[in-house]
């Protein structure tokens, strides 16, 4: 992974650890939005996602010495952000997340027909009722567009176990959406 001018992540990380801490800015600018959508769909809220991304960058900075593969800073950063997203546990059945998702949707896309908007919100709400792991595999495949083997590689797990998780997610989503109509 490299940015304009050809600096690789590995070079930036090594420079930062050697004392040139200002260079962390390159990594932050490069990856600021990379997982913004993943965090927003996982947490159901743009605000919560922004907090999570900020926290993840600060944590990554604090623990930069623990990044074992500096050339894959972004993969390591993803795991830190993922941890942070998973730490938000949702136990309450309050309508809350729906409004949050709705606020995100309607503020950004005024032209979208109301019905499509409703369906988008309903699905986001249903997603929040899944376990974090089920929601994640769904988001990585259907929002981020990764293949099962790419997801397996990133999460260090197997394609069969991902499919099992995803298929449970499909059934739960169907159940949730039916309950709401």
């Amino acid at each position: 992974m490299s940015g304009p001018g050809g600096t690789t992540d590995g070079q930036a990380v090594r420079a930062i650890l050697a004392g040139d801490t200002e260079r962390y800015g390159e990594l932050v600018t490069r990856y600021r939005d990379r997982y913004a959508r993943y965090a927003a769909r996982m947490l159901g809220s743009r605000d919560a996602a922004e907090d999570a991304v900020q926290d993840a960058f600060v944590r990554a900075y604090d623990q930069l010495a623990q990044c074992r593969d500096p050339d894959n800073f972004v993969g390591w950063f993803f795991l830190i952000l993922r941890n942070r997203c998973f730490a938000e546990r949702r136990k309450s059945k309050e309508v809350v997340p729906l409004e949050a998702a709705g606020a995100v949707a309607s503020a950004e896309r005024a032209e979208v027909p109301v019905e499509a908007d409703e369906q988008r919100r309903a699905l986001q709400h249903a997603l929040l009722e899944l376990t974090a792991e089920q929601r994640e595999v769904f988001v990585l495949k259907h929002v981020e567009g990764l293949s099962y083997s790419e997801i397996a590689e990133r999460l260090k797990t197997s394609v069969p176990s991902l499919k099992m998780r995803m298929h449970r997610a499909y059934d739960r989503l169907r159940e949730q959406l039916r309950d709401r109509t």
Partner: protein
């Protein structure tokens, strides 16, 4: 929001230690005796300077007062707790981060109090990263120990579940699973229930065709 943060920085830089002292005493005021408040203030300031969480110390002082415990006993308990936080912080540092986060330190102290050793805390912190937070792992381990699962078995069980690719929900569910094992079995001890769960996790990890997650610790 930026203005708010700027205000905070100014207030802190201007107020210095006085601000810190005001706040601890504000939380203790009316809930502990002045004598205990003074002692806890000193302990809290020193603890904060070492990067330790202060909230558990304040809580412990309030708890002791509510329970009608004599002042010197309360101070002793708060001092002992600060010591546990220190041990936890050191144990976490040995696992990786130079500045362990306060959540993890508090969870580590909880685990120590429940009967785990500092070596157990280090081992648990090591197997946690990167997929699980140290705080969550240590809270679950402490709870298992508090249920009567011996330390070695607790570490074994949590480690096996994580190594088998367990998700955060699987780790968090362990205390309930041990409870279920104890209540469904006849004469099954928590240790035995935990051992059974660990064996099952190991079997899952070694099942043919299952891609084993790469261990992430050195």
């Amino acid at each position: 929001m930026k203005t708010l943060r700027a205000f905070l920085l100014l207030a802190l830089v201007g107020g210095g230690t006085a601000l810190h002292a005001q706040d601890v005493s504000a939380r203790l005021a009316g809930r502990v005796s002045p004598e205990v408040a003074a002692q806890v203030q000193r302990l809290a300031t020193a603890a904060a300077a070492r990067g330790l969480p202060v909230d558990p110390l304040i809580q412990k002082a309030i708890e002791g007062t509510a329970k009608g415990v004599p002042a010197d006993r309360i101070t002793a308990a708060v001092r002992a707790l600060a010591g546990q936080l220190d041990v936890a912080a050191a144990a976490l540092s040995r696992a990786g981060p130079a500045h362990p986060d306060t959540d993890a330190i508090a969870a580590g102290a909880f685990a120590l109090n429940a009967g785990l050793s500092d070596a157990n805390v280090t081992d648990l912190a090591r197997v946690s990263a990167p997929r699980h937070t140290e705080a969550a792992t240590l809270r679950v381990a402490g709870t298992l120990a508090a249920m009567g699962v011996p330390a070695t078995q607790t570490v074994e069980l949590v480690t096996q579940v994580i190594a088998a690719g367990g998700e955060s929900a699987d780790v968090v569910a362990l205390p309930a699973q041990v409870t279920a094992g104890v209540s469904h079995g006849q004469g099954v001890t928590p240790a035995q229930a935990a051992a059974g769960l660990a064996r099952a996790a190991a079997a899952r990890a070694n099942a043919p065709g299952q891609q084993r997650p790469r261990p992430s610790h050195p």
